[in-house]
Symmetry: C2
Subunit: 193 residues, 2 copies
């Protein structure tokens, strides 16, 4: 087991309906030392790529993306969810379903922060059905920029997001992949990587 | 002029209605090297305090708070705005008016992440009318924890937030204080500190 899998077992939780609680260390309360380690792991896995921008999405993506942007010395672009956003000028937008599969959210990035010259590494904290990542990929495509790879802290491997993104030919690296969770017994099974 | 004031003049903008645009470096696109410098400035100004938690609020607060939490080696608690939030268990809540003075937002922190033993440094990116900071102070009070200080990157000194918070006896440090902005001429006047 790697450091993140150990931490999920120690401080994570499972709620009925396949909801993973990582609020003790990943999003509501951030353990910055852990985020630094996650960031270093992304930098190591994506070493040698020509990355000009990190792209993540509010809110919890910022914690895992920050150390990657710092180490690579590139700007961190934070996609916003409407209607939280008051951006001036032209924007790229993508529509994504939320995890219930019903509500449509709009994801927005100002056009001036992504261009056809950009090579983008997309970083986020949790991957489930992949709707959010597909929205971010669509925004990079709209800018005629290149997606160099996608880095995720925790992938819920029992949902279809990871399969779908890899199937599209993208390089997706997840530090911990959960293949099964049982909220009755509290058991979490990780994929061997 | 300090490094942040220079950057505001270089890359900031003013929109009609007293709206400062800092999206090129502070929130929508984050210049992580700048955020590191802002964080180091907070660490220096609040040196010697016994801080056990950093408290900020989603989304843009995370960027300025992250390097402070890393350097001090303490957890970073990110207050959430309802209804973005799916927290389990009991929560502290505070109601805050938004900048229009009309809509009421609810700010939420899970009770397990703030206790009476905590000494809290509140960090955020922009201070205007102070409603958000007052909500965060109210949450720390609800936990019977201590507010050690408040650190802000950019204070709009021509609005009443900074005056109000200092008047309550809190130690508030803002790296750049804007005393006047003129969207017709594009002029920004900083307070001498």
């Amino acid at each position: 087991m790697n450091f993140l899998e150990k931490r999920i077992l120690k401080d994570g939780g499972i709620k009925a309906g396949g909801i993973l609680m990582a609020d003790a260390f990943l999003n509501h309360q951030m353990d910055v030392a852990l985020l630094e380690r996650i960031g270093a792991e992304f930098v190591s896995r994506f070493a040698g790529l020509n990355v000009t921008k990190i792209l993540t999405i509010e809110t919890s993506g910022v914690g895992v993306a920050y150390p990657v942007a710092r180490t690579l010395g590139v700007p961190l672009v934070v996609a916003r969810k409407a209607p939280s956003v008051k951006l001036s000028g032209e924007v790229y937008t993508a529509e994504i379903m939320d995890f219930t599969g019903q509500t449509i959210d709009q994801v927005i990035v100002a056009k001036k922060y992504l261009s056809e010259n950009d090579h983008v590494l997309i970083i986020d904290d949790i991957l489930a059905n992949g709707y959010t990542l597909q929205g971010l990929i669509s925004i990079v495509d709209s800018a005629d920029a290149v997606v160099e790879g996608l880095g995720i802290a925790i992938e819920k491997g029992f949902q279809e997001g990871g399969y779908r993104i890899r199937n599209l030919g993208y390089r997706l690296e997840s530090i911990a992949i959960i293949d099964a969770m049982d909220d009755a017994t509290g058991t979490i099974t990780f994929r061997q990587q």
